[in-house]
């Protein structure tokens, strides 16, 4: 596997066998201004929600994005979808920078990228029938003649495992898992290339989570979809993803394929995240040594100097970590991490017995 995240100045180490990335992020930043005053608003600071991200997503792969609440993973998703405008940086979709396109020029791109949200109830209009929710994209983009929309919607419903006879029902008549299927059907309607899944199973029961994850997997195979899969649950992310990017305070601190990341994490934050994942086996769980992180994620208004993780890092050495911001470096093929004192290869294996 080639290096997917590179320094902006460097060319990729080798041409990727998978060709051009579908989505390419270069130095993407999103700062939200904090203002004070009602009429004369004065800017007093910025929330550095996303603070310089480079990421490539190749066609047909699933890239997982993990991190704690407030690390900027959902903001990243919204930037890619251009539901927000980036403060800085480039977001290339099939080679075209979409950050500066006018709404009109953006329209054809919108068709190619869709999103599935965490809370399937909040993301479905309670006053619309399922049929009109799933059919809405057709009316907006006119990819299907009006008299065919109904058939198309029924087909989609069947595809995601809903009963097409429930066409005229309202979202409240469905269970959480079924509502998420409605969300999936809507995202699929225009046959997009990219689907951004923002915590698609976090609100669901475990048994239903598994159904939705399998559904997403099947659809990916059938329609050659590319997923950007956002979740805070590392075991879910690892299950679905080809590659995983770990975010902390608006930055990517480590990227690797799922196996490498799990077996030889380099960044202490990744190690801590992995060690916190519960294991459904009392004996293994009791043996496992946990790296307990102290405190909460610092405020993204004034991120810590140097390595942003240093105030919570069990391996931090001073003054290096406090003064120097580490760059992403390659450790194993395809694995990059931003750390001055990375974990040894065996560290986690020993910790988990």
């Amino acid at each position: 596997m080639s290096v997917q995240v590179t320094e902006r100045t460097e060319p990729p180490a080798e041409p990727s066998p998978r060709g051009e990335p579908l989505v390419r992020l270069r130095g993407v930043k999103k700062h939200f201004p904090i203002t004070r005053g009602i009429i004369f608003q004065k800017k007093i600071g910025n929330v550095h929600a996303v603070d310089g991200i480079d990421l490539d997503v190749y066609p047909g792969e699933t890239v997982g994005l993990v991190g704690e609440t407030g690390c900027g993973k959902s903001t990243t998703a919204r930037l890619i979808m251009r539901l927000m405008d980036a403060t800085e940086g480039e977001i290339l979709f099939q080679g075209q920078d979409i950050t500066k396109l006018t709404p009109r020029k953006l329209r054809p791109f919108r068709r190619e990228m869709q999103m599935i949200f965490q809370d399937p109830y909040a993301s479905l209009n309670p006053r619309h029938t399922v049929g009109s929710i799933i059919g809405a994209p057709f009316h907006l983009h006119k990819t299907v003649p009006k008299n065919k929309v109904k058939d198309e919607v029924r087909e989609l419903m069947e595809l995601v495992g809903l009963n097409p006879e429930h066409y005229n029902r309202y979202p409240h008549e469905f269970s959480g898992g079924q509502r998420q299927r409605i969300g999936v059907a809507r995202a699929l309607a225009l046959r997009p290339k990219l689907i951004v899944c923002d915590e698609p199973v976090s609100a669901l029961d475990v048994s239903i989570q598994a159904q939705i994850l399998n559904l997403l997997e099947d659809l990916q195979e059938e329609f050659k979809l590319t997923y950007l899969f956002i979740a805070h649950d590392l075991s879910v992310v690892r299950h679905v993803s080809d590659r995983v990017a770990v975010m902390y305070l608006g930055r990517i601190v480590e990227v690797a394929d799922g196996k490498t990341l799990y077996e030889t994490p380099k960044h202490p934050y990744t190690g801590a995240l992995l060690s916190a994942v519960p294991i459904p086996d009392p004996e293994l769980a009791a043996k496992k040594r946990r790296i307990i992180l102290e405190g909460d994620v610092p405020s993204p208004i004034n991120p810590p100097s140097g390595c942003r993780f240093h105030p919570r890092c069990p391996r931090a050495q001073f003054p290096t970590c406090k003064e120097f911001d580490p760059d992403l470096e390659e450790f194993h093929p395809g694995q990059l991490a931003a750390c001055h004192f990375p974990l040894e290869d065996r560290a986690l294996m020993e910790a988990t017995g």
Binding site: D205, S207, H232, V236, R238, H239, G258, V277, P280
Partner: protein, 337 residues
């Protein structure tokens, strides 16, 4: 076997609605000894929350038909008048909920809310109660508790709020703490912290804990006993080891197979339980799980399987023979894990 702290016998909670009778809880029995942790596992709508809200005396709906016995130190809570129950609730049995933001009052300072709970049960001055609140916040690991007590819930992060809830729940040194999905809304790192905190405080306060969850993965290392609930009934009950290493019910197998594991081999496909949990108004005839069960037999569609013990207090409600259950678990469930 120590004297049980809480013993529940054949608890039923039915609600009569316009559409029919909802059998939210349909005859569950279990007991908890001091210092023990009981895990209650099931999907949404399996009756796990309703059971414990009933035990706390928090189901007040006129349409609720409650029967059975809830013996807390030998005293039947269901028969207590509400003012006597109030002395027990909060002081002897307390509860924490899934979403700490909705269970803390947004208009009051955190310290004041904990003080209020203390003053509802103890005759202490406001100042004394506030001091106790600050001390509790310190014990649950909130840094700078004096300042934090003067803040509002919105100034707390999710994990901090849950700690504040735990501080409130433990401020009266209860004998029993009921935690209803205490970590579902939290990040994994915070989840680990909170579960460890509950474990540690359990020892410190010598309390018993009930951990309600939908995720068997989360409670593996924290429970002594586990009760698996489905459609208002206990389908399997036993020590944690029995449930994880020698489970006897197809529903429990389904739950175990649905979990994504961080230590699994990649490329394994998940094996979810097919279908959806039933409506509690039209519970399927016979075994409620039969329409979703891969091992369904004719008898399952007719007769409700009783909860029968196999060894110790490990019991399961399934028509499969014990030998069948063990064979299937070993060959199909354990082999995959």
């Amino acid at each position: 076997m120590p004297e049980p702290l809480l013993e529940v016998k054949d608890l039923k909670v039915h609600f009569s609605t316009d559409d029919g009778i909802v059998k939210a809880v349909d005859g569950i029995s279990f007991s908890i000894a001091p210092g023990e942790t009981l895990g209650v596992v099931g999907e949404s709508g399996s009756g796990k929350s309703v059971s414990f809200l009933t035990i706390m005396g928090l189901i007040r709906s006129k349409g609720a038909l409650i029967s059975g016995e809830v013996l807390f130190r030998g005293q039947d809570l269901l028969k207590l008048p509400s003012d006597e129950l109030r002395h027990i609730r909060g002081a002897k049995i307390s509860m924490i909920f899934q979403d700490p933001m909705t269970s803390l009052h947004p208009f009051y300072k955190v310290g004041a809310q904990i003080s209020e709970a203390i003053r509802a049960h103890q005759d202490v001055s406001k100042k004394e109660a506030l001091n106790q609140s600050v001390e509790m916040l310190r014990r649950v690991g909130i840094p700078r508790p004096e300042e934090r007590a003067k803040q509002y819930p919105h100034e707390f992060s999710g994990g901090m709020r849950q700690r504040a809830m735990i501080a409130m729940a433990l401020s009266l040194n209860p004998d029993l703490l009921i935690a209803d999905e205490p970590t579902t809304a939290l990040d994994v790192t915070v989840q680990a912290q909170i579960l460890d905190l509950i474990d540690r405080l359990k020892e410190e306060f010598d309390a018993a804990v009930v951990m309600i969850t939908h995720d068997l993965g989360v409670v593996a290392e924290h429970c002594d006993d586990i009760m698996v609930m489905y459609a208002g009934k206990a389908v399997e009950y036993g020590e944690a080891r029995d449930i994880y290493y020698n489970s006897h019910h197809p529903y429990t197998w389904g739950l175990l197979q649905s979990i994504t594991r961080i230590d699994e081999d990649l490329g394994e496909r998940l094996r979810p339980i097919k279908g959806l949990p039933p409506s509690l108004i039209f519970v399927p005839r016979g075994c409620a799980f039969h329409p979703r069960c891969p091992y369904v037999m004719d008898v399952c569609k007719q007769e409700v399987p009783p909860l029968l013990p196999s060894a110790g207090h490990h019991s399961s409600a399934c028509h499969l023979s014990l030998a069948e259950k063990e064979r299937i678990f070993d060959q199909e469930v354990a082999a995959q894990r």
